[in-house]
Subunit: 463 residues, 2 copies
C-alpha cells in the first residue's frame, strides 16, 4: 500500500458529509441532455464541475462542442507512474413518467430503502453523478493530505452520454494529444453485489434506430376510411413483431454473423457465480426469462445480442377514444451487440428488412441514434492487477471479473481514437433504478467508492 | 310544397350572414368532451345553445348528467303532423396534432379551398356544430315567417358523442316519455357528393377497446435487462399484428358470425354509383385499397366489418433516445360492425384472444369505449319519401340512398330505448377532414342544409 493511503482514507471518512453536500448540489442541476429544454442546465452543470476541479488545483476548463460542452481537467505534477484519463458524464436521463417518482427527481436526499440500505436518491445519483464524484472526492482527499495526486490525472466529463454522444468522437479526434494517456478509467459500471467489487471486461455494443412509417397524407376517420386505407400503426406493429421469431431469435438476415459461442471455460465460471435467476427477475416482478430459448439469463445479458423496442407512438393516445387512422406511426428500436457484430451492417439489415416489408403507398424514414461495436478487454494487464488488489483490500472480498449487458461506447472510442484500453470500475448496484423513476445510489457505494479510488491511485503510483 | 315554405326560404337567404355569425360564436367554444380540461367549455356550449333555443321560443333547458350536460328543447304548438326529435352533438374531437392546423382550430373563418369551394373552417365546423345548426337556423326562419313551427319538434343535443356517449342511454331511459316522438332526425351524415343529397339507410356498428399490457414492475434499462425481461411493446405489437391475416381478414374466432354477403341487387346498385376508387384514395395520398382482398372499397366501407388500431403508446417517445424496457404499453383498438354482429361477443372475443396470447409474468387490463350494433333502416316509409322529395327539390338532383362506414350509436339507442326509427340526413362532404386537422364545412352545405330542413319541416306538415 502507498504510504499516504491510510491518511487519505481517514480524511475521506472525516469529510464524507461535505462530499455528500457537494454531490447533492450537482444532482440539483437537471442536466437532461436529450431534451433541448434543459440545454442551459447542462451548461450550468459543466460550469459547476469546472469550478470544483479548478478549486482542487486542476487546470480545468469548459470546452464547447456542437452540443453540450465537455469538461477537461489536468493534474500533471507527478513525476512517475502512469498517466490516467478518468471519464464520466454529467448528463442524466429524462425523468418521465414523473408520476411514479416518490420524491421530486432533482431534490436529492439520504433515504433508507425497504431493506434498510442507506442511499442517495435522485435522477443522476447512480448514473453517473454519484459514480464519477467518487473519483473527484478521492482526488480531493489526496490533494488535502499529500498536496498533490500520486499519478498524473486527466479528467474528461461529457454531457451527451444519455443522448448518443454525438460530439464525443469529434472531440477526441480533435484533442488526441491532450487526451491520450496510459489507460482510461471508466466508472459507469456496477459491483457484482453489495459486498463484491467488480471490474468489467466485456461490454455489449449498441445500435439505436428511430423508424417512422407514413401512409395517408393526413389523419383519417376510421369510419370513413377504415380497412380501405392503410393503417401505419398496424403495419409498424406487424413489422416490429417480425423482428423476433417464436424462439426469441432475431430474424434479420446475417444478424448473428460474428456472434461467438461462449467458451466452455467462461460458461463454467459464470455458472459458479452466485447468481439466482429467480431473484434477479423477481426483484422487478418477473419470474421467467423472456429472450432466446435455451440461454441462461447471464449469457443473454453478457454474451448474446438483443433487439428491443424502446418506444412506440402513433394515433390518439390521450384520454378517451378517437376513431382515427393516423397518417404515421413511429418507434425507437435498439440492438445490443456482442463479439464481432458490425454496427453498420446491422443498421443496414434493419433498414433493408423494413423497406422489404413496406407495402404500396407507404414511406419510411430513419433516424440514427448512435452505434458502437462490442468490447472485450485483456484481463492480464499490470494496472488491472493493481486495481484488483486495491479493490480486494477495500471491500475484503475477491474482485469479480464480469461482463456487462450495457454498452459504454466511449470505451471503444478510446481504443480506436486514442489507442488506449480502459479499466471499467464502478460501484453501482443492480437495484439503482438507473433510467427509471426513483433512481438511487447506495451511500456505501459512494463512501467506499471514494476510498476505492484513493487506494487505486495510490497503488498505481507504487512500483 | 307547404304554402309558407317559399317565404321561409327567402328569409333564410336574407339571414345567412347572421346565421354564420351565430355558428362562429358556437365554434369558438372549445367543447372537447374527451379531455377533462375542457369540461367547463362543454358546459358553456350547452348554456349557449339552451339560451339560443329559448330565444327562438323553445322550452329549453340544460340537463345535468354524470358527464357533460344534455340540452333539451321543445316546441309543441302544432296541432297536426308528426312529432320529430332532432338529434345533434355539441362536443368536438381533440385537435392534436395541433402543428398541422393552418389556422387555430377554435378561430373559425370563411375560407376558399384549393378547388375554389367556399367553406367554414374550424374544429366542429363539420362534426357536428355546422350540421346541427342547419336545423336550428331552419327553425328560426320558420318561427320568423310563420310565428311557429309547422310540426312539433323536440331538439336533443348531447355533449359526449366524441367520447363514447356514456350518459346517453341512461338519459334516454330516464326520460323516455319526454323524448319519444314519431321519428328521429339525425344529421351526422354526408351528402353523396357536392351536388347530390343523400339519406343514409345503413350504418356500421362500433366496439371501442383500450388494452394495456404490463410486464415488469418498473421501467428497466435495456442494457441490464434486455432479452431476459419481457418487453411489453414487442408483445403488444405481436398481438395486435395477429388481429389480421395476410389477406386482411380479421382473425378473432367467430368474428364474421352474422356478417351477410352483400345482396347482388345492392352490389349492382353500388357499382353503378359514380364512385372512383382511385380518386377517393388519391385525395388522401393513397392508391391501393388496403383491407380484405377481393372486396371493393365501397363494400369494405359500407358492408364489411373492420378492425383498426387507433392509437398506440409505450416506452420513451420524446426527443432523442432512451434505452428503456418499459413496464407497460397500451393501445386503442376499434371494430366497425355490420349485419347481425354482436358488440358484446366481439368485445369478448378480442379480450379472450389477447388473454390467450399473454405469456407468463404479463398482466392485461381493458377499458371499454362504447359498443353498438350495425343499423339497417326501412327505405319505404312515408316520412322518408317526403324528405327525399324535399331534398330532390332543394338540390335539383335525385337523392341517393346510401350506406355509411361510420357508426352513429344513437340511432340504435333510439330504436331500442324509444322504439323510434331515424332519418339520417346530413350535408357533410368526404373532404371535410372531420377528426383531422383543418376540419371545414362547405358554405353551400350550411346554406342549402338550412333550406333543406326548412323544406322537410314544411313537407312533414303537409298531408
Amino acid at each position: 500500500m502507498n504510504a499516504n493511503t491510510p491518511s487519505v482514507l481517514a480524511r475521506i471518512d472525516a469529510d464524507l458529509d461535505q462530499s455528500l453536500t457537494r454531490l447533492f448540489d450537482l444532482i440539483r442541476i437537471p442536466s437532461i441532455s436529450t431534451d433541448p429544454a434543459y440545454k442551459g442546465d447542462c451548461a450550468r452543470a459543466a460550469e459547476w464541475l469546472s469550478t470544483e476541479l479548478a478549486g482542487l488545483g486542476f487546470e480545468a476548463s469548459v470546452r464547447p462542442t456542437e452540443g453540450h460542452p465537455m469538461v477537461v481537467a489536468h493534474s500533471k505534477a507527478a513525476t512517475s507512474g502512469p498517466h490516467v484519463l478518468f471519464y464520466g458524464h454529467y448528463d442524466v436521463q429524462p425523468v418521465d413518467p414523473l408520476d411514479l417518482w416518490t420524491a421530486p427527481p432533482f431534490e436529492p436526499s439520504l433515504i433508507t430503502t425497504e431493506d434498510g440500505t442507506r442511499a442517495i436518491s435522485g435522477r443522476g445519483s447512480g448514473d453517473d453523478k454519484g459514480q464519477f464524484m467518487t473519483f473527484v472526492e478521492a482526488c480531493r482527499a489526496w490533494k488535502a493530505v499529500a498536496g498533490s495526486l500520486p499519478v498524473n490525472v486527466t479528467i474528461l466529463l461529457e454531457g451527451e452520454e444519455e443522448s448518443g454522444s454525438p460530439s464525443l468522437k469529434p472531440f477526441l479526434a480533435a484533442n488526441r494529444q491532450e487526451l491520450s494517456a496510459d489507460i482510461a478509467l471508466v466508472c459507469d459500471t456496477s459491483m457484482w453485489d453489495r459486498q463484491t467489487p467488480a471490474i468489467t471486461t466485456m461490454l455489449r455494443g449498441l445500435v439505436g434506430e428511430e423508424v417512422e412509417i407514413t401512409a395517408a397524407s393526413r389523419d383519417l376517420h376510421s369510419g370513413l376510411y377504415g380497412s380501405a386505407a392503410r393503417n401505419p400503426i398496424h403495419l409498424l406493429a406487424a413489422i416490429l413483431a417480425g423482428l423476433r421469431d417464436e424462439s426469441g431469435r432475431i430474424t434479420l438476415p446475417g444478424f448473428y454473423d460474428g456472434v461467438p459461442e461462449l467458451p466452455a471455460e467462461l460458461k463454467d465460471q459464470w455458472q459458479r457465480l452466485p447468481f439466482e435467476e429467480k431473484a434477479f427477475l423477481g426483484e422487478v416482478g418477473l419470474s421467467v426469462p423472456a429472450g432466446e430459448a435455451g440461454r441462461s439469463v447471464l449469457e443473454q445479458l453478457w454474451a448474446r445480442p438483443t433487439c428491443e423496442i424502446n418506444g412506440i407512438i402513433g394515433g390518439y393516445t390521450g384520454e378517451g377514444f378517437k376513431t382515427v387512422i393516423p397518417a404515421k406511426a413511429s418507434a425507437k428500436v435498439s440492438f445490443r451487440l456482442v463479439g464481432e457484430q458490425d454496427p453498420d451492417k446491422i443498421r443496414d439489415a434493419f433498414r433493408s428488412y423494413i423497406r422489404s416489408r413496406l407495402p404500396a403507398d407507404c414511406q419510411v424514414s430513419f433516424k440514427e441514434h448512435g452505434g458502437s461495436p462490442a468490447i472485450s478487454l485483456p484481463v492480464d494487464g499490470a494496472l488491472l492487477g493493481r486495481a484488483r488488489r486495491a479493490l480486494d483490500e477495500e471491500w475484503g472480498k475477491e474482485t469479480a471479473l464480469v461482463g456487462s449487458g450495457g454498452s459504454i461506447p466511449v470505451v471503444g472510442d478510446f481504443k480506436r481514437l486514442l489507442g488506449m484500453d480502459s479499466l471499467m470500475i464502478g460501484f453501482g448496484q443492480n437495484d439503482d433504478r438507473i433510467h427509471s423513476p426513483n433512481e438511487k445510489y447506495d451511500l456505501a457505494s459512494f463512501h467506499h467508492g471514494i476510498r476505492s479510488w484513493a487506494r487505486i491511485l495510490g497503488a498505481f503510483a507504487t512500483a
